[in-house]
């Protein structure tokens, strides 16, 4: 037990520690948003190419698709980590040095990945699905595939270091992760503490699943590397796929659970009402630990050698996945806002949008996780449809909303400017359209990951391009705001 942390009190830091921490969080946000913006330009390019408005080589398309996938996942991880760390450090003593270490390790990994894609020509998608990296038929070298996987591995090690610090700090204060997660309260071993920090509960959940995800990644990435250089070693492809999807699905899924902390922490601020922790809340977060880890086989529904029980479990869990936390959070948010006389700023608008985007985005996801529907929709654009929905309308609004809060709305009660409103509505409409066009394309059996589309599909891609341009416009306005205003903004007290 550290001496500075009492019951539900906050950790004290020195002024210089706080200043440095604020700079670090801003660096994470700016890096994350800039990468998002660049990757969206990549998305726009892909859409325009599929819509025959521009012409790019097929190999370039797949390089862009690879960098888009890995880039947005990386940006989501780094930005959501910034959000999470900013709030978690209020309750447990976290190290600035470790936070920065992860940031720089991350940047190193990014450089390696960029090199492997644009210098080495790697275009085997961010999922590096075995044995594709090893059989490029000359499109990229073994070295390029290896550097890509090494880059991912290094980013994983950086995150591991950060999570070890989270774990150390949480254990120092709560003794066990079960207690931090609120299990002792949930099962009646301790009275429920309404002030038990939600940031701690959410962070513990993220910590657990990501730790296991990274462990799986550390094994599977090295096995892939061994195969690259010793082709006679041929690991079981099904096992590799399981581990890769476990790793990838957990990591990207967890970003939304890390970012939702912003909703828990900021909505009470803006509405002036406390958001109490209760047993329902704790139960939901307990359930989600298992759900996030158990749903990934919905990517493998077409793989007949998979054991039936895993598929059934995945289908059942996918049905329920997201729902507990979503309901608890959505309902809680509505109760906070209802008749609170809240002033709608860009932050609150975005945070509220995120609740909608998350809730609505889960619906197409659940549909696709049903075996009968998956039989038709598997590998169609329905899949990008569902995840763009809750990433563009659920995850990003949380991150951008938090950025606005840091950029001054939290402190000076600044009102949104015309550009902010323009950004908000361009983003909202564009993101909604982007996702809906993907979903509609999927419903029309247009396959995903095709560089060149058939004539009948081109109109979809063209509408998608226009939608993408709107998203890019909105994100550009948001990002400019972050780059110019964020660095000078004071810490909201």
């Amino acid at each position: 037990m550290s001496g500075t942390a009492v019951a539900s009190g906050k950790v004290e830091y020195t002024d210089s520690e706080n200043r440095n921490a604020l700079i670090a969080v801003k660096a994470h946000l700016i890096a994350g948003l800039s990468v998002f913006l660049l990757m969206m330009l990549g998305g726009l390019t892909m859409r325009a190419a599929q819509g025959t408005w521009i012409e790019i080589g097929v190999d370039l398309f797949y390089q862009i698709m690879t960098v888009h996938g890995v880039g947005v996942v990386g940006a989501a991880v780094i930005a959501s980590t910034g959000v999470q760390w900013h709030f978690l450090r209020k309750y447990v003593r976290l190290s600035n040095a470790i936070f920065w270490t992860n940031f720089f390790i991350f940047l190193t990994g990014v450089v390696m990945i960029l090199g492997s894609i644009f210098l080495g020509g790697y275009g085997g998608a961010w999922t590096f699905l075995y044995p594709l990296p090893a059989i490029s038929m000359g499109a990229w070298s073994t070295g390029a595939a290896a550097v890509f996987q090494l880059g991912v591995l290094i980013i994983g090690v950086g995150l591991l270091i950060l999570y070890l610090d989270f774990g150390r700090a949480i254990l120092a204060r709560y003794g066990s992760l079960a207690r931090a997660l609120g299990l002792t309260m949930l099962f009646g071993k301790e009275p429920v503490d309404p002030a038990h920090p939600k940031a701690v509960v959410a962070s513990t959940m993220v910590l657990i699943v990501n730790f296991l995800g990274i462990a799986a990644g550390a094994v599977v990435l090295v096995m892939g590397l061994i195969n690259l250089y010793n082709p006679e070693f041929q690991p079981d492809a099904m096992l590799m796929k399981n581990l890769i999807y476990f790793f990838g699905h957990v990591i990207i899924n967890a970003t939304i659970y890390a970012s939702v902390i912003a909703v828990y922490e900021l909505l009470p601020r803006y509405t002036g009402r406390p958001w109490k922790t209760n047993k329902v809340f704790l139960a939901a977060w307990f359930a989600i630990v298992f759900m996030v880890m158990g749903v990934y086989p919905h990517h493998l529904l077409m793989d007949f050698p998979m054991p039936a029980w895993a598929m059934i479990a995945a289908q059942v869990l996918s049905f329920g996945s997201g729902i507990p936390v979503l309901v608890v959070t959505g309902y809680g948010a509505l109760m906070l806002v209802y008749r609170s006389g809240i002033k709608w700023s860009t932050t609150t608008k975005l945070l509220f949008l995120s609740m909608f985007g998350w809730a609505a985005g889960v619906i197409p996801a659940i549909l696709d996780a049903m075996v009968t529907i998956n039989r038709v929709f598997h590998n169609t654009l329905w899949v990008p449809g569902h995840f763009h929905f809750y990433l563009l309308l659920g995850l990003l609004p949380m991150i951008i909303g938090f950025t606005y809060y840091l950029a001054g709305e939290g402190d000076r009660n600044e009102q949104p400017k015309a550009t902010d409103s323009l950004g908000f509505y361009a983003y909202l409409i564009g993101a909604f359209m982007t996702s809906m066009v993907f979903l509609a394309s999927g419903a029309n059996s247009i396959p995903r990951r095709w560089a060149v589309h058939m004539e009948e599909w081109v109109t979809f891609a063209q509408v998608g391009t226009i939608a993408a341009a709107l998203v890019v416009l909105g994100t550009l306005l948001f990002t400019l705001r972050a780059i110019f205003i964020l660095p000078g903004a004071a810490n909201p007290r």
Partner: protein
């Protein structure tokens, strides 16, 4: 005082027993006992010896072992070296490799015992996970490789070792989970 001397003698005896032909040949007969019994026991002997080193030795070594980094690097190098199948083979067929093994593995144990407590807890965590992952990777490799890695051992031996590595890695993961999640300690360390 008496007890202290006794323990050091015990360690020495254990070392000699391991090195003498009956035990040495018995353990090296199979890949499993070679890698999962002989080498770990040698390392443990080194670890316990490291704890028993006189204080003034320890403090002299510490000067060169800030934060335990030098010692850990040494230990990791030795460990990686003895993970190469080729050198394990050589240790069986050539006596000077065997000699090197009997010297360096206990040294690795000593280095570990002197450095591990000095190491930053985060670095300890990273190394632990990396070590765990190595168990799983090697286990998987030994199970799936079509060929023998060691000329001196049978393929079936390699397969059994693979299974044992995966099993012990899993057991380790479970004890770790129990401790961190619920604060249950199965083994006291």
């Amino acid at each position: 005082m008496i007890i202290k001397i006794k323990q050091e003698w015990l360690l020495l005896t254990a070392f000699v027993v391991l090195a003498l032909p009956p035990m040495q040949q018995f353990l090296e007969q199979s890949m499993v006992t070679h890698m999962l019994v002989q080498i770990p026991v040698l390392a443990i002997i080194g670890w316990m010896l490291g704890k028993k080193l006189p204080e003034n030795w320890k403090s002299k070594i510490t000067l060169w072992n800030r934060w335990g980094i030098t010692g850990m690097v040494l230990a990791v190098i030795i460990m990686t070296y003895w993970m190469l199948p080729r050198v394990l083979d050589a240790a069986i067929s050539e006596w000077h490799f065997e000699l090197v093994k009997f010297v360096t593995v206990p040294i690795m144990g000593i280095a570990l015992s002197l450095s591990w407590p000095l190491l930053n807890p985060i670095a300890q965590g990273v190394l632990k996970l990396e070590f765990w992952a190595t168990f799983m990777r090697l286990g998987w490799l030994y199970l799936d490789l079509p060929d023998r890695l060691c000329a001196n051992y049978l393929l079936s031996d390699q397969r059994i070792l693979g299974q044992l590595l995966l099993l012990s890695g899993s057991a380790w993961a479970i004890t770790w989970t129990l401790r961190i999640m619920f604060g249950i300690r199965i083994i006291k360390t």
